[in-house]
């Protein structure tokens, strides 16, 4: 899922303070899992901003609403009334949702979150990066552990000399991805794969190739 982190109230206030009617709009799928931008969090944020407006002595109306996903047209229908009512929207979706909504409506759409990474829920309240969406998955060769997302140097043939006692030199709390890969290959009895040199990766499928697009003609209406 996409992990996000709510921006500080002061920064959000700077975005919305010039508007009369503001809709705090939640996105109830990915960013709701890390309890940062779901419909519930939008409700809480709207309340905090109303109190901020009162403290600042600014007359403005702040409401909240939300949908399941701000990155698909279909979900917007039920919130259309609220969106039309607003002068400006503070979206607590990830950067995708904010942009998608801004393309749909001719009104300011401000981000409520800093979109952080693609991650997993390691345990409650603990979100960890696992994928960088490089567009060419190599997990089959690395025992299911991604050195692109988890090695600070994105090494395809590792580890480097900075790996110490299973940890990365950038931070002793970061496990060395290549140590994890070796441990995993040993566990799976597949250590012979470690001897295979990874070829040079085609980075054109990553962001280096510009914004990416996938078209499935077979599922289009």
């Amino acid at each position: 899922m996409i992990v996000g982190e709510q921006k500080p109230i002061e920064e959000l206030w700077e975005s919305i303070k010039g508007h009369q009617k503001v809709l705090v709009f939640g996105c109830n799928t990915c960013v709701a899992v890390c309890q940062q931008g779901g419909n519930k969090e939008a409700e809480i944020l709207a309340s905090l901003l109303r109190m901020k407006a009162t403290q600042e002595g600014v007359e403005m109306e702040i409401q909240d609403s939300g949908i399941e996903r701000q990155c698909e047209h279909e979900f917007f229908e039920k919130a259309e009334g609220r969106i039309q009512w607003a002068d400006a929207v503070l979206s607590t979706a990830c950067g995708i949702g904010v942009q998608f909504m801004a393309e749909k409506y001719a009104k300011p759409v401000y981000p409520g979150l800093n979109t952080t990474f693609l991650g997993a829920v390691e345990k409650l309240g603990h979100y960890v990066e696992r994928c960088q969406a490089c567009g060419q998955c190599i997990l089959a060769a690395t025992g299911g552990i991604c050195p692109i997302a988890r090695c600070a140097k994105r090494l395809l043939n590792g580890p480097c000399g900075g790996s110490t006692k299973g940890h990365c030199e950038i931070n002793k709390d970061v496990p060395c991805a290549w140590q994890l890969i070796v441990d995993r290959l040993q566990q799976l009895n597949l250590m012979e794969r470690y001897e295979d040199l990874a070829p040079i990766k085609n980075w054109s499928t990553d962001r280096a190739g510009g914004p990416r697009k996938l078209v499935r003609e077979d599922v289009q209406l």
Binding site: E5, E10, E43, I44, T54, H126
Partner: protein
């Protein structure tokens, strides 16, 4: 979290709000959320016993304090309540 995504540290600390002077006759407005099965029953019993309590405390009965929601707390503060008492 990696801790890297936090906002950049401020260059100067935000101004601290000066506390307002409290009038001598001021009483805080307190809202109590009480569980139906314990705290509210106790308040009820206090009423039966003709015990009095401060009139600036208002009680709202919840079926359980587990029913308490963020939005109830925030809505109370938005409407000018000074403090909340959750009992259950």
């Amino acid at each position: 979290m990696t801790g890297q995504a936090h906002a950049a540290p401020r260059e100067e600390a935000p101004p601290i709000e000066a506390p307002r002077e409290i009038p001598p006759d001021w009483e805080p407005s307190i809202l109590a959320f009480a569980c139906h099965y314990c705290a509210f029953a106790a308040a009820d019993l206090a009423g039966v016993m003709r015990l009095s309590y401060a009139p600036n405390v208002k009680i709202i009965r919840l079926p359980c304090t587990g029913k308490l929601d963020h939005s109830y707390v925030l809505r109370a503060f938005e409407r000018g309540v000074d403090g909340l008492f959750v009992a259950g």
